[in-house]
């Protein structure tokens, strides 16, 4: 029988993988994929809590909004990464090293 704890374990794993991806990847697009994992782990939490614990639909509603926000955020982030590529011919984050100190 699959219960709340299984969902929470999967979401915790997704969250950790997302953080790991963000910290270790050098390609900006891969970092964005890590961010997606983080957001979706929270979505999984929200929906699972809504289904098993809270007894209301607030969590599922919240998750729908998060999906919309994630799409908007990725659209803006990809546009910025595209500009990075145009200016420097690489999607590599190490190339962005002008600002420091």
């Amino acid at each position: 029988m699959i219960g709340l704890q299984h969902y929470l374990l999967v979401s915790a794993a997704l969250f950790s993988l997302g953080i790991l991806g963000v910290l270790t990847r050098r390609n900006a697009v891969n970092v964005l994929m890590g961010i997606e994992l983080i957001l979706n782990s929270a979505n999984l939490n929200l929906v699972a809590f809504s289904r098993y614990g809270a007894g209301n639909l607030n969590g599922q509603l919240f998750a729908v909004f998060v999906i919309v926000i994630a799409a908007a955020e990725v659209a803006v982030a990809l546009a910025i990464v595209l500009t990075l590529y145009r200016l420097r011919r690489t999607p590599n984050l190490d190339a962005a090293d002008l600002l420091r100190g």
């Binding site: 900006a28 957001l39 929270a42 939490n45 209301n56 919240f62 909004f65």
Partner: protein
């Protein structure tokens, strides 16, 4: 339907701004002649209209839009402050006096500015963690685009890249915390969360609540540029166009503190006999004291060695976030009032300093402090104005910045640990050093070579003067301002 009819009268400021935003987009897309001036006029009109509407939304203290937002005096204070920040920005920083924005589209800039303003208002009035997250992301996403506004500029691109990646991760971590909070409490409404926490969290839930406070702090820390989520701040401030930097340093930070106050006071505190207390289950006050001390110390120490003015002011704004947090940490009405007064002061002193930096860049093409010597001969007015802004940032009486520091320090001495007040005082002294260094460079140092005087445009002169008056005059109306801040908290404290 009834709910909509009930909510609309308290939602006027946001509606007016939305209409202005749509009109600006339409006018800009129409391609008609003179559309740049029309866009600016529409933006100014929208902001002017939103100012009184934001103020009257505080006549009640009621949940609107089915509990998503709240209309209360605290929200009204922040609405007026946030709209005023946008208004001052549009009027004082124009496409004419910023050589960075020269040649770029006007309409998009005003549309983005209005969008950030609307989302700032929503953030300051959020009453539900779903709304909190939505508004926070809306502020962030529109700010990312504003930072990236200088399209072909490598610095601007790099700044926006760092901003978007840092912001997305911070708010993502915060969202994970909020999802756990929903699981723990079974509700997303902030008042319901307060009831949940006040009823006493079972022992096995306390660790989870502490973890949630840590995770959500990532988002709040990002928005207010507090350690350890401040890394984006210097790079973004340096890379973005100066008017954008000036705006980001004031408005989203103020909205971030508004929601920090609502979340930590509103959801995680209880009001006992006469005094506020953090909910006994979780000691977030210690957590925020650590963040505050680290923030002001790091900001001030890092600012000591900077030579780029935008970067220096970025570290200075990080340090101010640490001081501002003192008002939250005091966990008293005096502390919260100190936060409001400090934000009011911060609006005039920081925007003023950035205006001078913008004007000098416009005429000289430099942000480097090493190009500032001899400024007292070439432009005495700007030099004196900058000195006043810096003295205000330092917290020297009788300028408005002093009042901000006075209130938060008083609140901490009254409530908090003594060592915290001492650390903050030492920090204020360190900050005085680098502000004084700028004044010394401008007033005492002589330029290596003689250069012509800078001639200011009349409007620029007038706006610098207005900001100077904004730093000097409030003291003469202090009882009114103090009363405004006090009454903004009155109803909130009763909740």
């Amino acid at each position: 339907m009834q709910e909509i009819a009930r909510s609309l009268p308290h939602f006027g400021a946001e509606l007016v701004l939305t209409v202005a935003l749509l009109l600006v987009v339409l006018v800009d897309a129409s391609g008609m002649r003179g559309r740049n001036g029309l866009c600016r006029a529409l933006t100014v009109l929208g902001l002017l209209g939103a100012l009184p509407l934001g103020a009257v939304s505080g006549r009640v203290a009621d949940e609107i839009w089915s509990g998503m937002l709240v209309a209360d005096p605290l929200g009204a204070f922040f609405k007026v402050l946030l709209v005023a920040a946008s208004l001052l920005l549009v009027l004082a920083f124009t496409f004419r006096n910023s050589s960075e924005l020269h040649g770029l589209g006007h309409g998009e800039f005003y549309a983005l500015l209005l969008a950030v303003t609307i989302s700032n208002l929503l953030l300051a009035a959020a009453n539900d963690i779903a709304m909190l997250y939505l508004a926070l992301e809306m502020v962030s996403i529109t700010s990312y685009v504003m930072v990236a506004y200088l399209k072909g500029d490598r610095l601007s691109n790099e700044a926006s890249l760092k901003y978007v990646l840092f912001g997305a991760v911070s708010t993502g971590v915060m969202l994970y915390g909020l999802s756990l909070l929903y699981g723990l409490a079974g509700t997303t409404s902030i008042p319901a969360l307060r009831d949940f926490v006040a009823a006493g969290v079972p022992a096995e839930g306390r660790g989870a609540l502490y973890l949630i406070a840590l995770l959500t702090l990532a988002g709040f820390g990002f928005k207010t540029a507090s350690v350890p989520f401040h890394f984006w701040c210097p790079d973004v401030y340096q890379g973005a166009a100066t008017p954008v930097t000036a705006f980001l340093s004031v408005a989203p930070k103020a909205a971030g503190f508004a929601i920090l106050l609502r979340f930590f006071f509103g959801a995680l505190s209880t009001r006992g006999a006469g005094a506020w207390d953090y909910a006994w289950t979780i000691d977030w006050v210690q957590l925020l004291i650590a963040v505050s001390v680290a923030t002001m110390t790091l900001g001030n120490v890092a600012a000591l060695t900077q030579t780029n003015m935008k970067r220096l002011l970025a570290y200075s704004s990080i340090a101010h976030a640490g001081f501002l947090m003192m008002g939250v940490v005091a966990l008293s009405e005096n502390g919260a009032r100190g936060l409001l007064v400090y934000l009011f002061a911060y609006l005039f002193m920081n925007l003023g300093a950035f205006l001078v930096v913008t004007l000098i860049h416009h005429h000289e093409g430099t942000f480097d402090l090493r190009d500032y010597p001899g400024m007292h001969r070439r432009q005495p007015f700007l030099t004196v104005a900058m000195a006043i802004f810096l003295l205000s940032l330092m917290g020297i009486p009788p300028l408005v910045g002093f009042m901000g520091k006075l209130y938060v320090f008083a609140a901490i001495i009254e409530r908090g640990p003594a060592w915290y007040a001492v650390v903050a005082a030492v920090n204020a002294a360190v900050a005085a050093y680098y502000y004084a260094r700028i004044m010394k460079t401008m007033i005492i140092d002589e330029a290596a070579s003689e250069r012509p005087a800078i001639r200011l445009h009349g409007a620029d002169f007038a706006w610098v003067l207005i900001f100077v008056l904004g730093n000097v005059l409030p003291l003469f109306f202090w009882s009114a301002i103090e009363g405004w801040a006090r009454s903004s908290l009155a109803l909130y404290a009763r909740l």
